[in-house]
C-alpha cells in the first residue's frame, strides 16, 4: 500500500507530471537528500582514510626496516675500511720511530762508554796521587803525634798531682762540713722542738677558742628568756648586794 495509492497517475500529462514532481521535490526534500548524501560521503571518506592510514603505517614500517638494514651495511663497510687504513698507517709510523730510537740509543751508549772510560782513567791517576800524598801525610802526623803524646803525658802527670792536692783539700773540707752539719742539725733540732712547743701552745689556745665558739654557736637560740630566767635571777641574787650598793650611791 503506498502513500498515493488512491491517486491515479496514468491520466497525468507531462506538465502535470512535472508540476507533481516539482510539488513532490520541494526544498525540504532536497535538503533531506543533501544531508543524506553528506553523511554518506563522510562515512565513505572515513573508511577510506582508515584504510589509507593502515597502508601508510605498513609502508613506513617497511621503509624504516629497509633503511636501517641499508645503513648498517654501509656503516660496517666503512668501519672495516677505516680500520684497515688506520692499522697500516700506525704500523708504518711505529716502524719509523723504532728505527730512530734505536739509532739514538746506540749513539748515546757510545758516548756514555767513552765518558766512563775517561773517568776511570782520571780516577786511577787521582788515586795514585792521593796515595803518595797520604803516605807523606801519615809520616808527618806520626811525628806530630809522637811529640803530642809526650807533651800530654807531661800534662797528665801535672793534672794528676793537682788532683791529688784537690782531693786532699776536699777531704779536709768534707770533714769541716760534717762538723758544721752536726752543729746545724743540733741547732735545728733545738729550734724545731721550741717551735713545736710554741705551735702546740698556740693550737691549744686556738682550740680553746674553737671549742668556745662551737659552744656559743651550739647554745645560742636554744633557750628563750623564760627558760633562762631562773638562772638569771640566781646570778642576780649573787650580785644583789653590789647592785643595791650601786643604787644607793
Amino acid at each position: 500500500m503506498g502513500l498515493f495509492q488512491h491517486k491515479d497517475h496514468k491520466g497525468l500529462t507531462d506538465a502535470e507530471a512535472f508540476e507533481a514532481e516539482q510539488h513532490f521535490f520541494d526544498e525540504n526534500f532536497r535538503e533531506e537528500l543533501r544531508n543524506h548524501g553528506r553523511l554518506y560521503f563522510e562515512k565513505v571518506i572515513k573508511e577510506n582514510g582508515k584504510i589509507f592510514k593502515e597502508d601508510l603505517d605498513a609502508t613506513i614500517a617497511s621503509v624504516n626496516t629497509e633503511l636501517k638494514d641499508h645503513t648498517d651495511k654501509q656503516l660496517e663497510e666503512a668501519i672495516a675500511s677505516i680500520k684497515a687504513e688506520l692499522k697500516e698507517h700506525v704500523t708504518t709510523q711505529l716502524d719509523g720511530q723504532f728505527t730512530e730510537f734505536s739509532a739514538a740509543a746506540k749513539e748515546s751508549q757510545d758516548v756514555a762508554l767513552k765518558s766512563l772510560t775517561d773517568s776511570a782513567d782520571n780516577l786511577k791517576k787521582q788515586h795514585e796521587d792521593l796515595a803518595s800524598t797520604l803516605q807523606k801525610s801519615i809520616a808527618n802526623q806520626s811525628l806530630m803525634l809522637e811529640s803530642l803524646f809526650q807533651e800530654n803525658m807531661n800534662k797528665i802527670t801535672a793534672v794528676k798531682e793537682a788532683n791529688e792536692a784537690a782531693l786532699q783539700s776536699l777531704n779536709q773540707s768534707l770533714d769541716e762540713l760534717k762538723a758544721q752539719n752536726e752543729q746545724i742539725t743540733e741547732v735545728l733540732e733545738k729550734k724545731i722542738a721550741t717551735q713545736e712547743e710554741a705551735i702546740i701552745k698556740a693550737f691549744e689556745g686556738n682550740m680553746a677558742q674553737v671549742v668556745e665558739h662551737y659552744l656559743l654557736d651550739a647554745l645560742s637560740d636554744q633557750y628563750d628568756l623564760k627558760a633562762q630566767l631562773p638562772s638569771i635571777i640566781k646570778q642576780m641574787e649573787l650580785n644583789k648586794q653590789a647592785m643595791v650598793d650601786d643604787m644607793k650611791l
Binding site: M207, L215, D221, L225, I232, N239, A242, V244, M247
Partner: protein, 171 residues
C-alpha cells in the same frame, strides 16, 4: 589630805605591768588624756549637756591606780598625779639589761618584780638585745656593769680549758 596628795613620786608603787621608762611615759600620756576628757566633760555637764561616757583605762593604768589606791575623779588630784608621775619617770632608777634572745613580756614583768623587791622599789628596766651573749644577761646599773652572760663564763673558763687540753696532750 586625799590618798593622791599623800603619794609622791618617791612612794609610788609600780605594778608589774609597768616595766620600762616607756611604760611610765605612756602612763603620763594616758593620765593627761583622761584629765583632758574629764575636764571637758565637767564643763559640758555645767552647760546641761548629756553626761559623757567614762573613758576606758588601760590595764597598766588600772593596775597603777589600784596598787596606789588612787582615782582620777578629782581634777586637782589628777593634776598632782600627772606632775608626780612625770617626776617618777625622770627620777626612777633604770637598770639596763641586755639579753641574748628577745625578751617576752611575762619574763620582763617577773624580772621587774624581783628588782623592785630586792634592789629598788621603783626600778625600771631598759632592754637590749645582743645574741653574742649566748645566754644570761649583761646588766648595767647606774655605776657598774655585771656581765652575767654565758659568754663571760666561757671566757673566764678558757684557761681551765687550755689546761685540760694540755693534760690530754700529755696522756
Amino acid at each position: 589630805m586625799s590618798e593622791a596628795e599623800a603619794k609622791t613620786h618617791e612612794t609610788f608603787v609600780l605594778p608589774a605591768r609597768v616595766v620600762s621608762r616607756v611604760d611610765v611615759s605612756r602612763l603620763v600620756s594616758e593620765i593627761e588624756w583622761i584629765d583632758g576628757e574629764l575636764t571637758a566633760a565637767a564643763v559640758r555637764s555645767k552647760t546641761g549637756a548629756e553626761k559623757p561616757v567614762q573613758p576606758a583605762y588601760s590595764d597598766q593604768l588600772n593596775d597603777f591606780l589600784k596598787d596606789n589606791g588612787l582615782s582620777l575623779d578629782d581634777g586637782r588630784e589628777r593634776s598632782t598625779l600627772i606632775k608626780e608621775v612625770r617626776l617618777l619617770k625622770d627620777t626612777a632608777p633604770v637598770i639596763h639589761m641586755t639579753f641574748a634572745v628577745p625578751a617576752d613580756h611575762e619574763s620582763l614583768q617577773e624580772l621587774a618584780q624581783w628588782l623592785r623587791t630586792e634592789i629598788h622599789p621603783q626600778a625600771l628596766i631598759a632592754i637590749g638585745l645582743q645574741p653574742a651573749l649566748v645566754a644570761g644577761v649583761y646588766l648595767r646599773t647606774p655605776n657598774h656593769i655585771h656581765d652575767l652572760s654565758l659568754r663571760s663564763v666561757l671566757k673566764g673558763k678558757r684557761d681551765s680549758l687550755v689546761k685540760e687540753l694540755e693534760t690530754l696532750r700529755g696522756q
